[in-house]
């Protein structure tokens, strides 16, 4: 049986390495082609998905991976959007605007985290709830920066002449480039060292600290990163929607982001994309079915999806991986009868064949 196990392992290894090489290439090609082939409205939808995929990704970092319930993510999107709108309308250099749209939310996030991370579980949730809830009236009060409840419009990112592209194509490229970069970096981060750190901070702080991880520090880190990514999504929001107002960061949207994250799949990179798609497409879908039943349909869809896939849409991919893995088996030295091992051998193989049946 040992032999059998090795071959299956080797096989899946080969497949994996093949995917590892071909996968990204394929993805890049697709991303390059997509904006060129689709009509304007589709491109705009994809761009919008990109915006919220990034927002969900941020939420995933702090909540999915680090396990700190955050109901405030939309606030950082809003903040990023406001910073962008303000910068653009005072025509600052766009690169500067982008950097600020990342750093200012990150900094605010850091401050909040320094305080919030002292609290545990649900308390953090409540402190983060405060962000959108206080953020909306605050935005109204700071009307000289935010345009009050009438909001700010800012149009930028039109296609430059040389590109020969339509605006929507150009913007989509920008979204894909920036969003793609954020996704790639985050993906790398949540593997290896920091993935393990966030995982253990989520599950067991005592163990974390016993191996030299300061839970507080990494909670703050996760929260700050989430805010930064939120800021990026805010920048993209402004690029695509070109308007922001206090309603942008209303509490309800924060809740919907949370739902989108779980629907897509918590602690999953692919899940973040799926979550973004969910956030954008479901309202459009319900509008197709019956605009007057939005809430009813949205609720139904959410419940059905989770009922079928409690692990979120991303789990569609996962079980295959798990099911296929052949089960290594502990063969202790024969204590009683030598025959025991041979028995155990067959014993381990039976489920093997079984498993082929239902992966």
């Amino acid at each position: 049986m040992a032999g059998a196990r090795m071959t299956t392992a080797a096989l899946s290894d080969r497949q994996r390495s093949w995917l590892r090489r071909a996968g990204p290439l394929l993805l890049v090609v697709v991303l390059v082609v997509v904006p060129l082939v689709f009509p304007e409205s589709v491109n705009e939808t994809i761009a919008r998905i990109g915006v919220f995929a990034v927002a969900v990704l941020g939420l995933n970092v702090v909540m999915g991976y680090a396990g700190q319930v955050s109901l405030g993510q939309i606030f950082f999107l809003g903040l990023g959007a406001y910073v962008t709108a303000y910068g653009v309308s005072n025509d600052w250099n766009i690169v500067v605007v982008f950097v600020l749209a990342c750093l200012i939310p990150a900094f605010v996030g850091l401050l909040v985290a320094l305080a919030a991370a002292r609290l545990g579980g649900l308390a953090i949730a409540m402190v983060t709830v405060a962000l959108p809830i206080v953020g909306v009236p605050l935005a109204k009060r700071l009307s000289e920066f935010t345009g009050g409840s009438q909001g700010l419009s800012a149009r930028f990112g039109d296609a430059p002449e040389w590109s020969g592209l339509y605006d929507d194509q150009w913007r989509l490229y920008l979204v894909l480039a920036i969003g793609g970069a954020v996704f790639l970096l985050t993906r790398n981060l949540v593997r290896g060292k920091y993935g393990r750190v966030l995982g253990i901070v989520k599950k067991n702080e005592n163990v974390a600290s016993s191996v030299g991880i300061s839970p507080y520090r990494y909670k703050v880190l996760a929260f700050t990163l989430a805010s930064l990514i939120g800021g990026v999504s805010g920048f993209l929001y402004m690029l695509v929607i070109q308007y922001t107002s206090p309603e942008t960061m209303s509490f309800g949207h924060s809740i919907q982001l949370l739902a989108a994250m779980v629907i897509g799949g918590a602690a999953s990179i692919v899940g973040s994309v799926l979550g973004g798609a969910y956030y954008v497409l479901v309202p459009q879908l319900t509008n197709l079915v019956d605009p007057s039943l939005t809430a009813l349909l949205q609720g139904a869809v959410l419940l059905v999806v989770l009922f079928v896939l409690p692990g979120g849409l991303a789990s569609l991919a996962r079980p295959l991986g798990r099911g296929r893995r052949s089960r290594a088996r502990h063969d202790p030295a024969p204590l009683i009868t030598p025959s025991a091992t041979t028995k155990s051998g067959s014993a381990a193989d039976t489920p093997e064949t079984e498993r082929q049946g239902h992966p």
Partner: protein, 391 residues
């Protein structure tokens, strides 16, 4: 938009959304969430109006063709982002966007509409920006800008000559601010008016008891109450009675419905409940026999799939929007968005159905929405009567 100029520019060639037999109109408005009530009305009215027209064969356009009018209404849940999405998905197959409720949700795609040269007209926001022809060539607001409503009541107050102490409670957004601004501009420098206290509340608050308590202490005999949320207005009226503070009360046009607000609030207890309006209130016995109202209510049931009695004035307003659009259609000589805007902007003193005497649709003056004027009304225990003076 990829069309860049938009094919409206090329003249005779028909714009998207219009054929020789049909024209499609788009609406993005809140049909879910906290503003779903009025939002639903903004659709029901237009639907009812053109539903009835279509049933009667359609609308006769200025170019001699008769077209049926199709309405494509989408829900934006008062979310700017979704409003923009709705616009994006509609702009290429509707002739014009109209009747949508909400300031941020309309602002979210205003610039895009200008860039794409898509009409965004007769929208339900008192935000002056939409009535500024320079800033917003492709826009036109319908309802009086908030300032006008506040101003009208202010004028009345000043005219009364008697000294008044005024307390102000307004919603903390452009809506409340607009009302207050208008009111203040009217009472500016008037000797007999003193504003003794001014407070705000958030649209998300569950109660304004504290505000009313604080204002009651100000000894005001008039409260200028710019609130857009029915429940809060009701509880405000009730609270004031409990504190037995009984000032004359001003309510905005969209939260003064006799049935939904004043009666439950026990409005009869106050010396006077004033509001501004330009539409006949179906609930008011004064108009019980009015055949405008009759046809309207019938159509609302039959074509607007809105069975109950309209709970928000927005239903009446969007009915008028329908009428105003028709008015524009009849003078439209080319099936283009440009010509439509021209036609729409050249309406004068059009007395749309349900309009109160003394009000009319006039689209020719810049800086003003389609309905520039309102009349002040006083609650009479069942409905409202127009009044020239206080008391």
């Amino acid at each position: 938009s990829r069309e860049g100029g938009g094919d409206g520019a090329t003249g005779a060639a028909a714009s998207p959304g219009i054929t020789d037999t049909t024209v499609r109109l788009g609406i993005s408005t809140p049909l879910s969430g906290s503003t779903a009530g009025p939002g639903t009305c903004t659709v029901a009215g237009v639907k009812a109006y053109f539903g009835a027209k279509n049933a009667a064969g359609g609308v006769a356009f200025g170019d001699g063709k008769t077209r049926t009018v199709e309405i494509e209404a989408l829900d934006d849940g008062y979310d700017p982002q979704r409003a923009k999405a709705n616009y994006d998905s509609l702009k290429d197959d509707v002739f014009a966007m109209t009747a949508g409720l909400g300031t941020p949700t309309n602002r979210a795609w205003r610039e895009a509409a200008i860039a794409d040269e898509v009409p965004q007209v007769l929208v339900m926001t008192g935000d002056p920006l939409f009535s500024d022809t320079q800033e917003s060539p492709w826009q036109l607001g319908f309802v009086p800008i908030y300032q006008n409503e506040g101003e009208a009541f202010g004028k009345l107050l000043v005219a009364s000559g008697a000294p008044h102490k005024v307390a102000i409670l307004s919603q903390n957004d452009d809506y409340g601010a607009g009302y207050v601004e208008g009111f203040k501009s009217a009472v500016e420098g008037a000797a007999n008016i003193e504003i003794v206290d001014e407070l705000t509340y958030e649209a998300t608050d569950t109660s304004v008891d504290a505000q009313i308590t604080q204002l009651s202490a100000s000894g005001a005999d008039v409260i200028f109450n710019a609130m857009s949320l029915v429940p809060l207005v009701v509880s405000a009226l009730q609270k004031a009675q409990q504190l037995n503070w009984l000032p004359s009360w001003f309510l905005p046009s969209n939260t003064s419905s006799p049935g939904a607000v004043v009666e439950p609030g026990g409005g009869a207890a106050f010396p006077g409940i004033y509001s501004v309006s330009f539409a006949k209130a179906p609930a008011s016995p004064a108009f019980a026999g009015d055949e405008d109202v009759q046809t309207y209510l019938a159509a609302l049931k039959e074509h607007g799939d809105y069975p109950d009695a309209p709970a928000f004035p927005h239903c009446q307003w969007s009915w008028m929007v329908g009428a105003t659009l028709e008015q524009a259609f009849t003078t439209m000589t080319e099936p283009t968005r440009d010509d439509f805007m021209r036609a729409l902007r050249s309406i004068e003193n059009f007395e749309a159905p349900l309009m109160l005497p003394g009000t009319a649709v006039t689209t020719t003056e810049s800086g003003q929405p389609a309905v520039p004027t309102v009349v002040v009304q006083k609650y009479n225990g069942k409905g409202y009567d127009t009044v020239e003076s206080l008391g």
